[in-house]
């Protein structure tokens, strides 16, 4: 046995202290997996969109309406992230589109290794047919998901009218990381003290070129702009 530390590993270790400068992100493993996810998605010919919002902002409803509008011309696949239950995936499957439910077992966000598994399942569901558009619905949470690249091409942050227009100022990291901010449930504007101007101003301070759109899944208002945004981003 070794006298210095009492360990059993006598032959192959030494006790000279060694200082190693690492300077590597603590999220390095996630970043690497996200890069490989992105390649995987591109090999499938698809564009991937990561949907981030607080619980209940309308992510699944947006997907339901989007699928109804596009399913005849665009091959869509969906990865659903939730802490528990298969409910959201079932809502998507009811629209006739393949959906994988990832449950995080308590974790408050999706990460790239989880999505990697989801992509393989989605690929299996396609039976060789492939996808044009893959939606990843993140766990409802306006904080954690911002930190984790999943390998998406476009990050969309949803903010619904009842949540209030002060959210970009309160959750700057999340809104700063967005490629597009979607204001949802605008049919409710008459009932809430929600200022479009405040969102525009605060979001602009965070990221001057941040794109902003407003829509309602209930009335259909603003949906055309959203659909043509998607259409422009497809690899066709």
């Amino acid at each position: 046995m070794c006298d210095t530390c009492g360990c059993q590993l006598h032959e192959h270790h030494h006790h000279d202290p060694k200082v190693v400068e690492v300077n590597q992100s603590l999220l390095a493993a996630n970043v690497q997996q996200a890069m490989s996810n992105r390649q995987h998605i591109e090999k499938m010919g698809a564009v991937a969109i990561n949907l981030i919002s607080s619980p209940g902002s309308g992510k699944t409803t947006l997907l339901e309406r989007t699928i109804e509008a596009m399913r005849d011309t665009v091959r869509i696949g969906v990865i659903e992230g939730d802490i528990e239950t298969e409910r959201d995936a079932e809502r998507i499957r009811a629209k006739g589109v393949p959906a994988v439910q990832l449950t995080t077992g308590g974790a408050c966000h999706l990460d790239a290794p989880l999505v990697h598994g989801g992509l393989h399942v989605l690929e299996h569901f396609a039976k060789g047919a492939g996808y044009d558009l893959i939606f990843i619905e993140n766990v409802g949470n306006l904080v954690c998901p911002a930190t984790f690249d999943l390998g998406e091409h476009i990050r969309v942050v949803l903010l619904s009218v009842p949540e209030g227009s002060d959210k970009p100022a309160k959750y700057p990291a999340t809104f700063k990381g967005a490629d597009l901010v979607l204001l949802t449930k605008v049919d409710l504007l008459p009932y809430f003290d929600f200022s479009m101007e405040e969102v525009r101003k605060e979001a602009g301070l965070l990221k001057p070129d941040l794109e902003l759109m407003a829509l309602s899944a209930t009335s259909g208002e603003g949906f055309d702009a959203w659909l043509s945004f998607l259409d422009r981003r497809l690899n066709r």
Binding site: C5, D16, P17, V20, E21, A107, A146, T147, P172, A173
Partner: protein
């Protein structure tokens, strides 16, 4: 919010580094947790100290955490403000005295926009 899973991935990185450098154990780890990274020092240390005990190679690792002062731009006067980050234990005292809101040191406005500060970095590892 996800301090535990971050501590877990740090420990995996440490085991890999120890293997690469043929070291038997890690004695000290220095990390930077950005002030706007969403990671709370106390929770991160708590998770790290529980999980490190699972492996002999990390059992004695001491965790050093650095959090740089957060930087803001004041939306009223456009000046840069560096405001020390209160420790977890000081926050309640600040709240009790109505001082929880950070204010611009130049003009007193509370309309401060955070700049950067989301980094999570493994800087340095000591091993033997």
């Amino acid at each position: 919010m996800h301090e535990l899973s971050l501590a877990q991935s740090l420990l995996e990185q440490l085991l890999e580094l120890a293997g690469k450098h043929q070291a038997a154990r890690v004695t000290r780890v220095v990390v930077t947790l950005g002030p706007f990274s969403g990671i709370v020092q106390d929770s991160f240390a708590f998770g790290f100290n529980i999980l490190k005990a699972e492996r002999p190679a990390t059992r004695d690792a001491v965790l050093d955490m650095e959090t740089p002062d957060p930087e803001y731009i004041c939306l009223e006067c456009n000046k840069v403000a560096l405001i020390p980050f209160p420790r977890q234990s000081e926050r309640l005292d600040l709240a009790r005295h109505g001082l929880a809101a950070r204010k611009c040191p130049w003009c007193g406005s509370n309309r401060l926009s955070p700049q950067g500060g989301t980094e999570l970095i493994l800087n340095q590892v000591e091993m033997e």
